[in-house]
């Protein structure tokens, strides 16, 4: 017995009815109970309570819960994969932004040189931000090399040769800049198209490969030439996706992307955005700012459904659901796969709360992902999908009723 219960061993009684006492404690309790009717009553009550709690069985596991859990796990795995690929995407976007800055910088330098009466040939303008970023030694070395070659070549070829001779200088500057993301930009296939989009070919932009090489130089140049940095647009101004990337580093850009979803009204497609990003952003705008691809929002309840209502134009919910016949053993995997597909198209699939199958799934998808979805649904035997019947301005919606086969 403890000091706190000199007369009635109440705490021990609780442990005694559970058989969780030492032999000494048991003897003490039982001795006390023999002469204390109140404690016997209490022990009976505690037993009754314990039994009542045990008999108050929770409801059975909802039938659709395993599918929902499996689907969320798949969604998270897919999101993790997306996260990795997004990481790779941000790098070229950052490169595209800095490239655009380089282009503007070149224009400024050329303009300044022109005002000073300096002659700058077009061949030099495109691939280089300007002579000021090259160290004097390297510049001199290049000029000497150019002079040595000059005698053996036609005068018209000097400019292009000079470009080639300055390549080592670029490599050296890039190493100093230490932008680790550059290597990633080289391997990301989207870099080429993004950068070509950002800087129209044949104007101020160099070929894609050269653009990749030059991206970090702009960063270095910006810090070295602060007076020019103030005169050119920041990376964020050039491409919102790259915000934080050029200055804060690649990871900073990713973090910004993760944490700051743009409000619907502020959405403006970036010319450098990939089609998937554009679709997703459009869907985001159309849904009133709810990120349709956010894994945690895939199972929609309450407020979320109202968002989808708005996005889908309101009348879709009255539509007759399309029928999807599935074997009971297949439903978990099939619904999970469909969820992953919809997610990949920048849409959202909801599994409504409620007991039991069959159940009606709701799918909201950006309109430009519709054809792909329709094809995928057709493959699954879900026919009769017509876009115009249930599409909002930007997001199309449909309902699919799962019918289990036995």
């Amino acid at each position: 017995m403890t000091d706190r219960e000199p007369e009635h061993p109440r705490e021990l009684l609780s442990a005694w009815i559970d058989g969780e006492v030492t032999p000494e404690e048991r003897a003490a309790v039982e001795s006390h109970l023999a002469g204390c009717p109140a404690c016997r009553d209490l022990a009976e009550d505690l037993r009754a309570l314990s039994g009542a709690v045990a008999s108050d069985e929770p409801p059975p596991v909802p039938e659709e819960l395993p599918a929902r859990v499996a689907w969320r796990i798949r969604g998270e795995s897919a999101a993790a994969r997306r996260g990795a690929s997004r990481w790779l995407r941000v790098v070229p976007l950052t490169a595209a932004a800095t490239l655009a800055a380089v282009a503007l910088l070149v224009t400024v330098v050329v303009h300044q040189n022109s005002e000073r009466g300096t002659q700058v040939t077009p061949a030099i303008q495109a691939p280089y931000p300007g002579p000021a970023r090259v160290s004097p030694e390297l510049e001199r070395e290049a000029q000497e090399a150019a002079a040595r070659k000059k005698q053996a070549q036609a005068p018209g070829a000097v400019a292009s040769k000079r470009v080639a001779l300055q390549k080592p200088a670029l490599a050296e500057v890039r190493k100093d800049a230490g932008v680790a993301g550059l290597e990633e930009a080289k391997v990301a296939p989207e870099a080429t198209s993004s950068e070509q989009n950002a800087v129209p070919a044949g104007k101020t932009g160099p070929p894609a490969a050269a653009a990749t090489d030059h991206a970090p130089i702009a960063t270095r140049y910006r810090s070295d030439r602060s007076e020019l940095a103030t005169a050119k647009p920041s990376a964020a101004e050039v491409a919102p996706e790259a915000q934080g990337g050029a200055v804060g580093g690649v990871l900073g850009g990713v973090e910004n992307q993760e944490s700051a979803a743009p409000p619907a009204a502020a959405y403006a497609p970036s010319p450098a955005a990939s089609p998937a990003e554009t679709r997703r952003a459009r869907a985001l705008a159309a849904s009133g700012g709810t990120d349709l691809a956010e894994p945690s929002a895939k199972v929609i309840k309450g407020e979320g459904f109202r968002d989808l209502d708005v996005a889908c134009g309101g009348s879709w919910s009255a539509m007759q659901p399309l029928s999807w016949r599935l074997a009971a053993s297949e439903r978990e995997r099939a619904v999970g796969d469909l969820g992953t597909l919809v997610d990949g198209l920048g849409g959202r699939l909801s599994i409504p709360s409620g007991p039991g199958f069959p159940t009606v799934l709701t799918i909201g998808i950006p309109r430009d992902g519709w054809d792909e979805l329709r094809t995928a649904l057709k493959k699954r035997g879900i026919e009769g999908v017509a876009l115009d019947a249930h599409a909002g301005e930007r997001v199309a919606c449909l309902r699919v009723e799962i019918r289990l086969e036995d």
């Binding site: 109140a38 009542a52 045990a54 108050d56 819960l65």
Partner: protein, 175 residues
Amino acid sequence: MRAHLPQVWRVAHRILRHREDTEDVVQEVFLVAHRSLAGFRGESRFSTWLCRIAVTRALNHLERAEEKVRRSSLSIDATAADGAPDPNPGAMRGELVDRSPSPLRTLESRELMRRLRDCFEKLPSTWRAVVALRDGEDRSYEEIAAVLGLALGTVRSRLARARLSLRECVGGESS
């Protein structure tokens, strides 16, 4: 997952007593377990590890809805020795004033269950977890201590306090 889902569901529901909340928490539990699987060192049984996640998540969920407890008609001013607020401080003092037949055993079972559920929701969340694991899941004190990360003595005293509070609450409503 299927093998462990019923257990996780039961534990979470016994603590939360709310179907939708339980659904949310169960999904959370498996997501967390999925993320943390690599960190599972095998020091405890897998089911114990999963149960610990379930209890933690359920308690977090309850903490976020703590106002439910504050709405309780019982006083929570006093703080029990183990840190949890004691909804019925007199229950442990060994005061056995009422010698009339216990109302608990005279109640019709449906009414008893109704009161029990009401009173259970008034318990501090950490006490709920102990009762749920002991009386609901028939776990030993040792297992409960492992799941909750408590000392055996704390499990014993917390369980006793919770039961005595429940008794007072359920019986008190009939008087």
